[in-house]
């Protein structure tokens, strides 16, 4: 019976190709919209996650001062190199500690100049921040100890100052400091917040303190935690240690802050996921409209075929059989819509991910869900017209013109 109903449905759809295709268009667009939105959203989530992970996983960022809402900070004394060393020494789960300070200065090479941020740090900065060298070498121990005038350039700085030339061995000027380029960093691209992460120059921390800043301050300590260790516990350890070193009494608040990168990741991916759900929900409304289109055309079909239904009932078709026939027809229609919708979504996702510059993610789960949804739409919106057909009075139906 079901096979027959299926065959009949195909026959009926073939008879009205134009009408059927216009009807399913609603479902096609609905399904495609839902899937595309979710795919783009998933792409954005993946992008956010990837970018944060490229900063370094299990990363804690320790800064002096407390956040006072909207970017304000209460004034607080900076850290010193000793603080970083203390963290490395006394917090057991620590994998790497990179103290740093930075300042924006104008860099000059030949006729080119470029304002960028100069970061005074050590080789741990590379490790902790997942940086790799494009060319050249890291700082040597003696360079770090002596505060030598050597630097590593970010990809943007290389491009702006050197163009296509090889920067290795060249002398550039960082403000008043003449400095030799010993290496360049592999590009990391834009951050989630839209800032250029390759726009920086690394020099040894001691060089920075002595020759640019003129103080012993450390403005930022990045701490990476060993894989498998709890970042929460490490965060607590660092807080306790810093409170002790900075002589903060029990009643006072911290005058420094420790940020967990994982928390930020969670927050940001949470946001994109909410956005994805929202986009999907909006797109689902169009699927609903598609369903109403199917109901409409099925009602028209039932009216047009009233005599046929009357004949079938007279011949001995059960209510259930007539209901099945029309329900199957609606479901076949909407399933066609679902299949074409998935295909359209595939195309749209590729194009949209290119246009919006997010990675292309095709989530087979959502494609299946989208298809099943289209089938469901057929059942829900096909039921009413099918019931109407099944409940027709055979005598009235036979007389229908």
């Amino acid at each position: 019976m079901l096979y027959n109903a299926f065959r009949l449905a195909l026959q009926e759809i073939r008879r009205n190709v134009m009408r059927s295709s216009l009807t399913i268009l609603g479902v096609v667009i609905g399904v495609a919209a839902v899937i595309t939105m979710v795919n783009i959203g998933s792409g954005a989530t993946v992008q956010v996650t990837e970018q944060i992970e490229s900063l370094g996983t299990n990363l804690l960022i320790v800064t002096p001062g407390q956040r006072m809402g909207m970017g304000q900070r209460a004034p607080a004394p900076a850290f010193e190199v000793d603080d970083a060393e203390a963290i490395a020494r006394e917090v057991p789960a620590v994998a790497g500690v990179a103290p740093s300070s930075s300042q924006v200065v104008t860099t000059v090479f030949g006729n080119e100049n470029w304002r960028t941020s100069i970061v005074g740090t050590d080789n741990q900065f590379l490790e902790v921040g997942n940086w790799t060298l494009e060319a050249g070498r890291e700082f040597t121990e003696s360079e770090l100890r002596a505060g030598s005038a050597v630097c590593l350039l970010g990809a943007t700085v290389v491009r702006e100052l050197f163009g296509d030339q090889d920067p290795l061995g060249s002398k550039i000027r960082l403000g008043k400091l003449a400095c030799q380029v010993i290496g360049s960093l592999h590009s990391k691209g834009q951050s989630t917040m839209g800032t250029d992460r390759d726009d920086l120059v690394l020099i040894p921390l001691r060089t920075f303190q002595r020759r640019l800043a003129g103080n012993q301050d450390v403005r930022l300590i990045q701490v990476s935690i060993q894989k498998g260790s709890s970042t929460e516990a490490a965060e607590e350890d660092i807080k306790r240690l810093m409170r002790k070193r900075r002589h903060i009494s029990q009643t006072e608040d911290d005058d420094f802050s420790v940020m967990d990168l994982k928390e930020i990741t969670k927050m940001l991916t949470g946001t994109t996921q909410v956005l994805t759900a929202l986009l999907g929900a909006v797109a689902a409304v169009s699927l609903l409209v598609g369903g109403i289109g199917i109901m409409n055309i099925m009602l028209v079909s039932v009216t047009e075929r009233t005599r046929e239904i009357g004949t079938r009932l007279a011949i001995g078709a059960l209510e259930r059989e007539v209901l099945t026939q029309f329900l199957v027809e609606a479901v076949v229609l909407s399933s066609f819509g679902g299949v074409f919708g998935v295909l359209l979504a595939l195309l749209a996702s590729v194009l949209a991910s290119k246009a919006l510059n997010v990675p292309f993610v095709f989530n087979p789960g959502i494609a299946i869900v989208g298809f099943l949804f289209s089938v469901g739409v057929g059942v829900v919106f096909g039921y009413f017209p099918a019931r109407k057909a099944a409940r027709l009075d055979p005598i009235e139906a036979l007389r229908h013109e």
Binding site: M1, L313, A314, G316, L318, I395
Partner: protein, 239 residues
């Protein structure tokens, strides 16, 4: 009623059948107490003016409609007590219908139209095809299997409808003005076809008509006037 009637078993027995549409002052009495017995192998013509209740009576006989009161025994089963689905099953297994307007499915081949009742009987496709082909052959439509109703003449369409009604070998064929849309020559062909099925296969036939010539093919003619049986004429008695 001749004594030979009682030798055959009663297929249909109507007793005091009434049908009322609407209620109260607006009520229309379509049937006002019909008593009728139809035996196996009978060929009964029902005649009467329009509005006399003959079509209503045929619909009740065909289990398409239920009487307001009275008893309808079909093979000793009280039909007026059956549910909609049970009546559909009764139609499926015992009745064949021929309508004035043919009621073939559009854009569906003659063969598929004839197969339709077999589909609902759950007969497998191959067997269905064979039965439908021989039914079409029996009404003289070999070679027209692939034709859609639109490609057939009125007479041919009614033959397809007859083939569809008879392919299940029903006990009763109910025909509502089967020749109403046809010219005299076609009408005679159709009547001879119907008569042959009654004579050769013993299928009982109840036919509604308003043409005396068509009624003359039947053994008995039941005359309806104003929702009541006015007279029953036996043709063998007349002849």
């Amino acid at each position: 009623m001749g004594g030979d009637q009682h030798r055959r078993s009663a297929l249909i027995q109507l007793a005091g059948i009434t049908k009322v549409y609407g209620t109260g002052g607006a009520a229309t009495h379509a049937l006002r107490g019909i008593d009728l017995r139809i035996d196996e192998g009978d060929f009964v013509a029902v005649m009467g003016a329009s509005g006399s209740g003959k079509s209503t009576c045929l619909n009740i006989l065909g289990c398409l409609d239920t009487p307001t009161s009275g008893s309808y025994l079909f093979r000793d089963v009280e039909v007026s007590q059956l549910t909609r689905n049970q009546r559909a099953l009764l139609r499926r297994h015992y009745f064949g219908f021929v309508f004035q307007g043919y009621n073939l499915l559009n854009r569906t081949s003659a063969l598929e139209n004839v197969e339709l009742p077999l589909v609902y009987r759950g007969i497998p496709a191959a067997k269905r095809r064979g039965l439908a082909k021989s039914a079409l052959a029996a009404v003289g439509l070999e070679g027209h299997e692939k034709h859609n109703p639109g490609e057939l003449s009125g007479g041919e369409q009614q033959r397809v409808a007859i083939a569809r009604a008879l392919v299940t070998e029903p006990q009763v064929l109910l025909a509502d003005e089967p020749t109403g849309n046809l010219d005299t020559a076609r009408s005679v062909e159709i009547m001879e076809l119907i008569t042959s099925f009654n004579r050769d296969r013993g299928i009982s036939i109840v036919m509604v008509t308003h043409e005396t010539e068509m009624a003359s093919y039947a053994d008995r003619v039941v005359n309806f006037v104003d929702g009541q049986v006015e007279s029953i004429t036996r043709h063998d008695e007349v002849a």
